[in-house]
């Protein structure tokens, strides 16, 4: 793990450390789930805190996975595994993955997807991305999240809408824009958007490339995220 000069490669150390953290968080989450499954709503006064803990844990884990994935893509160690997939499969996986947590906060999640909608994409990457978008929407939604898929100008689209207050202007993103600027003041690290842009761009067909848009045309003016896959 060193270059010719014998100096350790910081990138590798960082990646390994992130990896280790990810595994630790995984253990934490599994332990939390275990405890949670043992306490019923009426017998456990700290249930709300538990759900908060689980949410933060999931967020942490999903951020670490994003960092690792980006690291691999940057080192060109990750080749997207592009296969034909059902949009409904991915959305269902994301829905199941988040449903429990959303229910705790009283948020309903609905899915609207035609069963025969298919597209070419890396299943792991795209489900990771959509799941993290849902995870983000959890924070802002009042009571509803709506996920779905469709087709637009030959692109397969996957969207997540919520009924919150919408994105701040700095996070609004349209096709053709570069990666949104990182602003520490806004509290956003930019990781999520950078991840979305990178994953989208890995999907290419002929001379078209994947991209995403965000807008405030979700449920009742809430946030909307749409991924376009060629």
């Amino acid at each position: 793990m060193s270059d010719d000069t014998g100096k350790p490669d910081f990138n590798i150390i960082l990646a390994n450390a992130v990896h280790d953290m990810k595994n630790s968080v995984g253990m934490l989450l599994a332990a939390l789930d275990e405890i949670d499954s043992r306490c019923s709503p009426d017998s456990c006064a700290s249930r709300d805190q538990f759900s908060q803990l689980r949410y933060e844990g999931k967020r942490l884990s999903s951020n670490l996975v994003q960092v690792l994935t980006l690291y691999r893509i940057n080192e060109s160690r990750y080749t997207p595994n592009i296969t034909e997939n059902d949009a409904s499969d991915v959305l269902e996986e994301c829905l199941l993955d988040n449903e429990g947590l959303l229910a705790l906060k009283g948020i309903d999640i609905e899915m609207d997807c035609n069963d025969d909608l298919q597209g070419f994409f890396d299943n792991e990457l795209v489900s990771g991305l959509i799941s993290s978008v849902i995870n983000n929407a959890y924070k802002y939604a009042r009571s509803r999240i709506h996920i779905g898929a469709g087709r637009e100008n030959g692109y397969l689209t996957l969207y997540v809408k919520d009924d919150g207050n919408g994105f701040p202007p700095s996070m609004l993103h349209e096709q053709g824009q570069g990666t949104p600027a990182i602003s520490f003041r806004s509290g956003s690290t930019g990781l999520g958007l950078y991840f979305a842009a990178t994953i989208a761009a890995l999907h290419r067909h002929d001379d078209r490339q994947g991209f995403f848009t965000t807008g405030n045309d979700g449920i009742n003016g809430g946030g909307r995220f749409t991924l376009y896959l060629p």
């Binding site: 990646a15 390994n16 990896h19 595994n23 995984g26 253990m27 989450l29 599994a30 789930d33 691999r72 080192e75 060109s76 160690r77 990750y78 080749t79 592009i82 296969t83 034909e84 499969d89 269902e92 996986e93 199941l96 993955d97 025969d116 298919q118 070419f120 067909h205």
Partner: protein, 549 residues
């Protein structure tokens, strides 16, 4: 959501931690599988796979001491313990990018990263179960090796069902290539590529070009894959092979080194690199690759005594005789004193002792090796043979050297690389003239035998032809033409009379012994297909997969 279950499915859980095994088990139980069994390590898993078949195998990558998950999968595939209809799912905490690459390369049917949750398990298993059900007739044909039937079933499925379309195209292309039907495979891949640039389709086009010996075209195709997908590891292997065929040995090594860097955990790749670097006289790379091959090989079904002998030989070149000797001596221990292990160990020891100036020990090891080789000529690989002949010449045992070399020529008469090494060996010993004569006469003898056998067959004396080729194949166990001719005569016998299981097995044995070099690939495939047709006409054997539909 549709209700689903694991009813009628059998599941094997492989994990070294008892807690993990019971966690997975308790996650699965609510879905009511028919049976859940567990294995606590790789050996245990292989034993279970030998005893019964499972619909789903959940195998942890890290299994502590002994085999890891990848090696379990490798061995199961290698020994045909995994039916096509089973789903082998690798569970892993992905400790490093290299490991993940390695694990993906042996191509498990799926991959679940830790921590495994009920949801992630449910989503994956649901998909597999649905696929298992929908493709059952196809996988069943594959398991019975009824490949033409499998292709037909794929076509039928595709007629009215879009699901799994590309996966089935890929499978079909692979089946067509294996059957030597390059025309249809090529058309299929072209049609796929016209719709979308899918690396596997371009990769198959490359393989087809390679088998058709159109190396420049193959090189271009593999390069194009790597330009767009530098992580498509198999393309490095094939590009290296192609460059090597084009005579660009240095470039071939370079390409393979890139592949090794991206995915080092493959024994065949390290072995190929060692072989290539050795030919390029790049001692350092050879040594590193040999060591790595041995390390990866621990616990793997794919490891061979030759891996150790190769390291010992490169250590001799480096004049590290003491370590070379230690490596040579470990061969017998590592491989349980098998004949091949004893032959490799004795052969390489003989040359190590020579460089150490220990003439008596060297002569003793040489005699041991020669007697094993005489008893079991089938064990004599080109590397062993060359090394043995070299030792014979060093001990002035010219006749023994000639005998060995004669067998090498018989086995590798159309392999220019081996013939060049033989010629070089004799040139250096000052008998360059003798060798070209030996090659010439040996070739003539082989041609004479083949002609005689073919004539017997033409004249209708099938039995005599079979006897002649069987005898000839015994004397030159790796000669492709003789072996294929032997198979052909047996096939003729089955056509003329009634096909029998035993005769069929013999024919298949000869076809396998003929190897699968491009030069004889077409004929090899043709004979293999005929055998399959004959096999299909046989009355059914005890059906091993007689399970409720």
């Amino acid at each position: 959501m549709a209700i689903w279950s694991l009813k009628h499915r059998t599941i094997l859980i492989v994990d070294d931690f008892p807690e993990m095994r019971s966690t997975l088990r308790s996650m699965l139980i609510p879905w009511q599988p028919e049976r859940i069994e567990t294995a606590r390590n790789g050996d245990d898993a292989i034993e279970k796979l030998q005893q019964s078949r499972y619909d789903i195998i959940l195998c942890d990558y890290n299994l502590g001491e002994g085999k890891n998950g990848q090696q379990v999968l490798e061995e199961a595939r290698h020994r045909s313990l995994l039916p096509f209809s089973s789903a082998f799912i690798m569970v892993s905490a992905e400790t490093s990018a290299q490991m993940v690459m390695g694990a993906m390369e042996t191509q498990p049917d799926g991959y679940i990263s830790k921590p495994v949750t009920r949801v992630s398990l449910q989503v994956r298993l649901k998909k597999f179960v649905r696929k298992q059900d929908e493709l059952r007739t196809i996988t069943r044909a594959m398991d019975r090796k009824q490949y033409p039937a499998a292709i037909e079933l794929i076509d039928r499925h595709l007629e009215d069902n879009n699901k799994y379309r590309f996966e089935l195209y890929k499978l079909k292309s692979d089946l067509l290539i294996r059957a030597g039907d390059y025309e249809r495979a090529g058309n299929l891949c072209e049609a796929v590529l016209a719709g979308r640039e899918l690396p596997w389709a371009r990769f198959d086009m490359g393989r087809i070009a390679f088998f058709r010996q159109d190396y420049p075209c193959a090189a271009g195709l593999f390069e194009k894959i790597l330009a767009g997908n530098p992580g498509f590891i198999a393309a490095y292997d094939w590009l290296a092979k192609t460059r090597d065929r084009l005579g660009e040995h240095g470039e071939a090594q370079q390409v393979l080194m890139e592949g090794v860097e991206r995915s080092p955990q493959s024994l065949p790749r390290q072995r190929a690199l060692a072989e290539l670097a050795d030919r390029n006289e790049d001692i350092e790379v050879t040594e590193a690759a040999c060591r790595k091959a041995i390390r990866i090989g621990k616990g793997s079904i794919l490891r061979e005594p030759a891996d150790y002998a190769a390291l010992a030989r490169v250590l001799v070149q480096k004049e590290s005789s003491a370590e070379a000797l230690r490596v040579a001596q470990s061969i017998n221990r590592e491989f349980d004193h098998s004949s091949l292990a004893r032959l490799e160990a004795a052969t390489v020891s003989s040359s190590i002792y020579t460089t150490m100036g220990n003439k008596n020990e060297s002569a003793g090891a040489l005699s041991d090796a020669l007697s094993i080789a005489a008893q079991q000529p089938g064990l004599l690989s080109a590397d062993i043979g060359l090394s043995l002949a070299h030792s014979c010449l060093a001990h002035n045992r010219q006749e023994d050297a000639d005998l060995i070399i004669r067998q090498l020529i018989c086995d590798h008469e159309d392999d220019d690389a081996v013939l060049a090494k033989i010629t070089q060996l004799y040139d250096e010993a000052g008998s360059g003239d003798a060798i070209s004569e030996l090659i010439e006469t040996t070739r003539k003898e082989i041609i004479a035998i083949n002609n005689e056998g073919v004539k017997l067959l033409k004249d209708g004396d099938v039995e005599a032809s079979i006897e002649l080729f069987t005898r000839a194949a015994h004397g030159m166990p790796h000669n492709p033409v003789v072996n294929l001719n032997a198979a052909q005569s047996l096939i003729r016998l089955m056509r003329d009379t009634v096909p029998g299981r035993e005769t069929l097995a013999k024919a298949l044995g000869f076809i396998q012994a003929a190897g699968n070099s491009e030069m004889h690939r077409e004929r090899h495939n043709r004979l293999l297909n005929t055998c399959r047709e004959l096999a299909a006409s046989l009355p059914a054997e005890n059906d091993t997969d007689a399970e409720p539909a």
